[in-house]
């Protein structure tokens, strides 16, 4: 390890780092702007200047930019030398010439990297006598504000948006001191990663628009470590609360998963916590269909009465916590429990777990994904189903250019040099999906085909790699060439990666992906197989399993074998055909525990309001099989409680027999521990969270020490400061008192360090700047191979008995159930549409934008037509979440016709700003 000397002190630093990274990794304060651990160095801001000395004799030294200088062994430098201190203060003075003095009204104030650096360099007095430069700001859509006057031209935004995330509708315009960062014209930023600009910008040019409507300073937010609800990736988040509302979500650094970035579905979709349709009180359905809020005990008594004869079913949920699912399974008994997937989904999940549990299969972290040097994406539209994974893939194709840069002695962190030199080098990514995707621009080759063809393609790639002669295939020459090229690239790679998942709706695709991975396994290669799952706890819910499928549960209710069903956080209209659901719930007592209005609560007899992730503690298992704990950010409003608590109370109300099944479920940790005891695959799940129950003084505060207004915010009720709510579930406190741990691991409710008020302060908690958090990356990887070999669920093939078959599509903003309740996400989501092949559209007299009527099972939906030449003929692409009321099973037959009465919905924007 190289040794460097900084102001006379010697430090051992990592090989290959630059001086800025090396200094920060030692905990030293060295100001910077344009450098970012994930974006590398470009040398634009000149803020990280230090004096570097040639050798031991050199006393003069030379000013050099730390971020652009390798930390070579024996480097001597000074941060404190007068020349460096003076220069860094001058850089701030130059930046401040035009930066407005609007900190008091700027939303970045209090977490502004520019503020921090200004204070750190000691520039205090304005000498500039001229006018400040001004710009016209742009409308950038519902997610971001734009205030260009604050810009300090560090180029981070454009480097993130274009270079890192592949966006094309944002750029750096102009020159000299009038550089402008924005779009060519006003309009919604297209990239689903645009929200990261809020955190990437070192000052207040890009701020969170939904947040600004009910703005709160960072220091006034109550935050807790959390996990994103938006998909199966399990990004770590930091939601912040004030006045009983979720204010915003920031990224919570996780070295192996999300790093520094989230997608917009996750960042802004969490707004569903504040949605109008939230259920805040327990209620009973009267015979006339009206809903009566009642005290919780009354609702519980009514529910308990319904359970009295003991013929109770439980329907769990892939979006409910492990604890809630486990509590329900325990309450009703495993044989009466269904994990809550639609039957076809359960079949897909079974294929996923079977593949994951296969021998020699490595399931990669996103960090591993970024390191892959050849990728095959089979049947999954990753950019829409797991955006953060797509962002990682975007980095993986750069590996070849890193190797080329290394050959040319360009350090990997020297971003502009690597990109210029590496323009001609790209690691291969092969992709097969129903339609074109937002990864097409980085793909070596991309084919559009229906799932069964993708499966055949995958098998052919596996055949070629395994040098086995496959069955005769109907693949076209082009597809054979594609398969041959993909097999070649994967075979040549050191770290090949296969990506697939449930998005195609086809278990054959998943099995084909696994076959490719198996064919590659062995030898010198590190083979990874990444299978995406749709929801935040899909894998956990599936691993927990249950004794019945959803169809069986519905049949059982319909036929009166069971007369009561408890539905846990599950919108059943997305899981089964409306007719079947109606028939089932009409005969049964329906008890629903959920957070949000919908078809299912509307058809419930008893509703118990569930706390969301932000209002409860629990465990989700992501696509890797990583059990991760989310912590309560704030106590929910009204009667809201974690679903497992409702179930425990219900069990006690329902009598001894039920109560015994959930005996000892006092705290969330009790439930997790019971889960770990009962299911081998979850044996380590309770290691995902540190022990609760610390004494008050040693707890980790959810509030920064500058948290203000503790008495004022309740003064309209009482002038006495209320006692903060007790937290019996975690080592955190609803308080500003306590200790931020030095090695926080999972327990980092907010990021702050002396002098570092912005999110840049996270480096103070990392083992090295840009590396893992001290205390280790959050979560515990479960051993999926221990999954009890349950009944193999083979979903019956959907009946393709109509002229068109439905192919599932996903949309990053429209397809997640909960996110769509967030106003910002609804504004971002496209109007519901269906995709047809040109010939089919023509045959039906349908033109782009005109109405399409899709009919199945007696339900009709009307959608806008999109005509796509890559769509296979005889099929209609239907987007999950866009066919309200119409349950779509992949491959099922539907009727499609022109809808002359279709009126395109307005875009809903009545004012901009």
């Amino acid at each position: 390890m190289p040794t460097i000397e900084v102001d006379g002190v010697r430090y051992e630093v990592r090989e290959g780092a630059n001086l800025l990274q090396a200094c920060l990794s030692q905990g030293l304060d060295l100001p910077y702007f344009c450098w970012h651990p994930s974006l590398g160095s470009v040398g634009a801001c000149r803020q990280c200047a230090v004096v570097q000395y040639k050798d031991e004799e050199d006393t003069q030294g030379k000013l050099t930019m730390a971020c652009m200088t390798p930390a070579a062994d024996g480097t001597r430098l000074s941060i404190d030398a007068d020349e460096a201190v003076g220069f860094r203060a001058s850089v701030i003075e130059w930046l401040m010439l035009n930066h407005p003095h609007d900190c008091p009204v700027c939303e970045e104030g209090g977490e502004c990297h520019l503020q921090d650096m200004t204070v750190m360099t000691g520039h205090t007095v304005r000498r500039y006598r001229g006018r400040k430069r001004t710009f016209r700001n742009q409308y950038l859509g519902p997610l971001l504000n734009h205030e260009m006057n604050r810009c300090i031209t560090c180029y981070r935004c454009v480097r993130f948006y274009r270079d890192y995330a592949g966006g094309r509708d944002f750029d750096a315009f102009g020159s000299r001191d009038r550089m402008y960062f924005g779009r060519a014209e006003d309009g919604v930023l297209e990239s689903e990663f645009a929200g990261n600009l809020v955190e990437v910008c070192p000052t207040g040019v890009f701020t969170d628009k939904p947040f600004s409507r009910t703005y709160t300073r960072k220091w006034d937010l109550t935050s807790a470590p959390s996990i994103c609800h938006g998909c199966g990736v399990g990004c770590n988040t930091l939601p912040g609360e004030r006045y009983g509302a979720l204010k915003r979500v920031h990224n919570r650094y996780h070295s192996e998963i999300n790093g520094y970035f989230l997608c917009d579905r996750g960042r802004f979709g969490a707004g569903f916590v504040n949605a109008d349709g939230r259920l805040h009180s327990a209620g009973l359905r009267r015979d006339d269909g009206s809903f009566d809020p009642v005290p919780p005990d009354e609702a519980l008594r009514r529910a308990a009465a319904a359970m009295a004869n003991g013929r109770v079913l439980g329907i769990g949920s892939p979006r409910a916590s492990m604890e809630s699912n486990f509590a329900l399974a325990s309450l009703v008994g495993r044989e009466q429990f269904c994990s809550g997937f639609a039957d076809y989904q359960a079949g897909l999940m079974a294929a996923v777990v079977e593949a994951m549990a296969g021998p020699a299969i490595h399931v990669p972290t996103l960090q591993d994904v970024e390191a892959a040097d050849a990728v095959l994406v089979l049947g999954e539209d990753v950019a829409n189903t797991a955006p953060r994974l797509a962002l990682a893939l975007r980095q993986s194709v750069r590996n070849e250019s890193f190797a080329a840069a290394a050959d040319a002695s360009i350090p990997v962190w020297q971003d502009a040099g690597v990109r210029n030199h590496g323009a001609a080098y790209r690691s291969p990514l092969y992709q097969a999906a129903v339609l074109g995707t937002r990864l097409d621009d980085i793909a070596e080759a991309s084919v559009c085909c229906p799932p069964e063809t993708a499966a055949e393609l995958g098998e052919r790639v596996a055949d070629q790699l395994g040098q086995r002669s496959g069955a005769d295939t109907a693949l076209s020459d082009d597809l054979r060439d594609f398969a041959a090229a993909a097999a070649q690239a994967l075979g040549d790679a050191k770290r090949p990666l296969i990506i697939s998942g449930t998005g195609s709706g086809s278990a054959a695709v998943i099995r084909a992906a696994a076959a490719v991975a198996r064919a590659l396994a062995g030898g010198e290669r590190d083979v990874s197989l990444c299978l995406n799952v749709p929801e935040c706890n899909s894998l956990g819910a599936h691993l927990l399993g249950g004794g019945m499928t959803l169809a069986e549960a519905l049949t059982s209710l319909e036929q009166g074998e069971a007369d009561t069903v408890i539905v846990l956080e599950n919108e059943l209209s997305r899981r089964a055909e409306a007719g079947r659901l109606t028939a089932a719930v009409e005969r049964a007592n329906v008890i629903v525990v959920d957070c949000q209005e919908g078809w299912t609560p509307e058809h419930a007899d008893v509703v118990l309001p569930a706390a969301t992730f932000a209002e409860s503690d629990g465990t989700w298992v992501n696509y890797e099989g990583r059990a991760q704990r989310f912590y309560r950010v704030f106590p929910g409003r009204g009667d809201c409680a974690p679903a497992w608590q409702w179930l425990t109370r219900l069990a006690r109300t329902a009598g001894q027999e039920f109560a015994e099944r959930l005996a000892g479920f006092e705290h969330v940790a009790d439930v997790t521990a019971a889960l770990a005891r009962e299911h081998a695959v979850f044996a380590e799940a309770d290691d995902a969270a540190p022990e609760a129950g610390l004494p008050a003084g040693l707890r980790v505060p959810r509030q920064p020490h500058r948290y203000s207004g503790r008495t004022a915010m309740h003064a309209h009720v009482s002038v006495h400061e209320p006692r903060p709510p007790a937290d019996t579930e975690s080592p955190l406190a609803f308080s500003m008192e306590g200790q931020q741990p030095r090695d926080p691991g999972v327990l980092l409710p907010f990021s702050w360090a002396p002098g570092w008020n912005s999110n840049q302060s996270v480096y103070k908690f990392q083992a090295e700047a840009g590396g893992a958090l001290r205390g280790g990356p959050a979560g515990v990887r479960l051993d999926v191979t221990r999954a009890a070999a349950g009944r193999r669920v083979e979903a019956p093939a959907a009946a393709a008995d109509r002229p068109f078959r439905a192919l599932p599509l996903q949309d990053v903003f429209a397809s997640d159930e909960l996110s769509l309740h967030a106003a910002a996400i609804r504004q971002r989501a496209a109007q519901p549409y269906a995709v047809l092949a040109p010939a089919d559209a023509q045959g039906l007299g349908i033109t782009a934008g005109s109405g399409v009527r899709v009919v199945s099972g007696g339900v009709t939906v009307s959608l806008a037509a999109r005509i796509d030449p890559t769509m296979v003929s005889g099929a209609v692409g239907l987007v999950e979440g866009m066919t309200k009321g119409l349950f779509v099973e992949p491959g099922m037959g539907v009727d499609v016709s022109a809808d002359p009465d279709y009126v395109p919905p307005s875009d809903g924007v009545i004012a901009r700003g």
Partner: protein, 440 residues
């Protein structure tokens, strides 16, 4: 060979033709013989070696040895897929400089032959001329020259039956001073903003579109045909001092006969100023000069006997630059001249790094304040400090701001009284102020 042709390889043909040299005239004067010789009888590496031996140094301002630069280009099997670029920097934007224009408008084939030789030396299948957008006549002449040369087999496919092919394209700049910086030029050529690139990689290893690229100034390339034709020794002996060859020297400002002359490297300043430019106009006294364009330090009376070569001018604290001097007379207010120059450099900053982007406009505004009588005590110290922080090479991303600070720091050194008087008297005390607002 006439004496002129022998001693003035850059301009003799133009003088003989009384202006524009067409392809016939160029051939008659021995044109394209160097190319014929090179592609038929010399290995590419030999061409590079000859240029190296001749000690030709870059005429765009930096003075880097041309043959050495060429030798950094990967050759043969090291060259990957063999795509390389020879790029001629014809983006002549340096204030007071018009030497490249003279060459391109009058003798485009000389440049073209230089380009073809360079491309042959590095085995580049593609050459580009990146030309200042305002050079309309030069662009037309060069396009015609490329077509004429192609028709006679000098460029395009299979040059003179040698098997070597090179296409020459003309790119006309959108117009930024910074396009003259070789890596900003590469970005502009690729259709990106004209901002400089980080080094490494250096262009000879990885330039345009990530491929090996050589960027040479027009005048530099115009020297190559002569070197190949007459040899390195001939070229060496053309110089009067340490540096080899001849150079187009120029003078602008209030001299009797401003213009451009091809003279041996190392010709003393006084000789250029008095023998060739005819000395100062009547009624104007010499105060100083910027020897190589606006981005070089002032030289004053005491420096007039220095030879115009890289080392001597460098040792005097300035730079040879483009060798076309701007002469400042006593009618010019040095503060206002400095403001004007900083205005230019601030305008032309690419906007990438902080000291240049934000520092230069600030200094311009301080100078404008001083000139307008609004200067304050402490302003000169502010200028000194900033000129140091902005001007030292390495403090900024490229040398644009370094160049901007050269005339300012040297003006503050040699003409400090002028600045102090402005602040003390809270006005511009210059006798002619108001009559001649614009110094150049």
């Amino acid at each position: 060979m006439t004496e002129d042709a022998e001693n003035k390889p850059l301009s003799a043909r133009i003088t003989a033709a009384g202006g524009f040299v067409d392809i016939d005239a160029y051939e008659q004067g021995g044109g394209y013989q160097a190319l014929r010789h090179a592609v038929t009888a010399m290995a590419p590496e030999d061409v590079t070696q000859t240029v190296k031996d001749a000690n030709l140094r870059g005429r765009g301002g930096a003075g880097f040895p041309t043959g050495v630069k060429w030798s950094f280009v990967p050759m043969g099997d090291d060259a990957g897929d063999g795509v390389k670029y020879l790029i001629c920097n014809a983006d002549e934007m340096e204030p007071g400089t018009f030497k490249d224009r003279y060459l391109m408008e009058n003798d485009p084939h000389l440049l073209l032959e230089g380009i073809l030789l360079g491309a042959y030396a590095i085995q580049a299948p593609q050459a580009y001329v990146f030309m200042r957008g305002e050079y309309h006549l030069a662009a037309r002449r060069l396009e015609e020259a490329i077509a004429a040369a192609e028709a006679r087999g000098y460029c395009g496919k299979d040059v003179l039956g040698s098997g070597f092919s090179v296409a020459v394209g003309l790119h006309r700049s959108g117009g930024r001073y910074l396009c003259g910086e070789e890596t900003a030029l590469l970005n502009a050529l690729e259709g990106r903003p004209a901002q400089p690139r980080a080094r490494p990689p250096f262009p000879p290893a990885s330039g345009a579109w990530g491929r090996p690229s050589i960027v040479n100034n027009v005048e530099t390339l115009c020297n190559v045909p002569g070197i190949i034709r007459h040899g390195a020794a001939w070229y060496q002996q053309l110089g009067r001092g340490e540096d080899a060859g001849t150079k187009l020297f120029g003078a602008s400002g209030r001299v009797r006969s401003p213009g451009l002359w091809e003279l041996p490297m190392g010709t003393p300043i006084r000789e250029i100023l008095y023998d060739h430019a005819g000395g100062m106009q009547d009624g104007y006294a010499f105060r100083g000069l910027l020897p190589g364009g606006a981005s070089t330090d002032f030289l004053v009376e005491e420096h007039l006997d220095l030879p115009m070569d890289y080392a001597a001018i460098g040792n005097a604290g300035s730079r040879l630059g483009t060798g076309t001097m701007i002469v400042v007379d006593d009618s010019v207010c040095v503060v206002d001249l400095s403001r004007n120059l900083q205005h230019f450099f601030a305008q032309e900053s690419c906007g990438f790094c902080t000291p240049c982007r934000d520092g230069l406009p600030w200094l311009e505004s301080v100078l404008a304040d001083i000139e307008a009588g609004r200067g304050e005590p402490g302003d000169l110290e502010l200028l000194d400090r900033n000129a140091h922080y902005i001007g030292v090479p390495g403090h900024t991303f490229c040398v644009h701001a370094t160049g901007a600070m050269e005339p300012l720091a040297s003006a503050l050194k040699y003409f400090r009284d002028d600045f102090e008087a402005h602040i003390r008297e809270r006005r511009c005390p210059h006798r002619q102020h108001g009559l001649r607002r614009e110094p150049i």
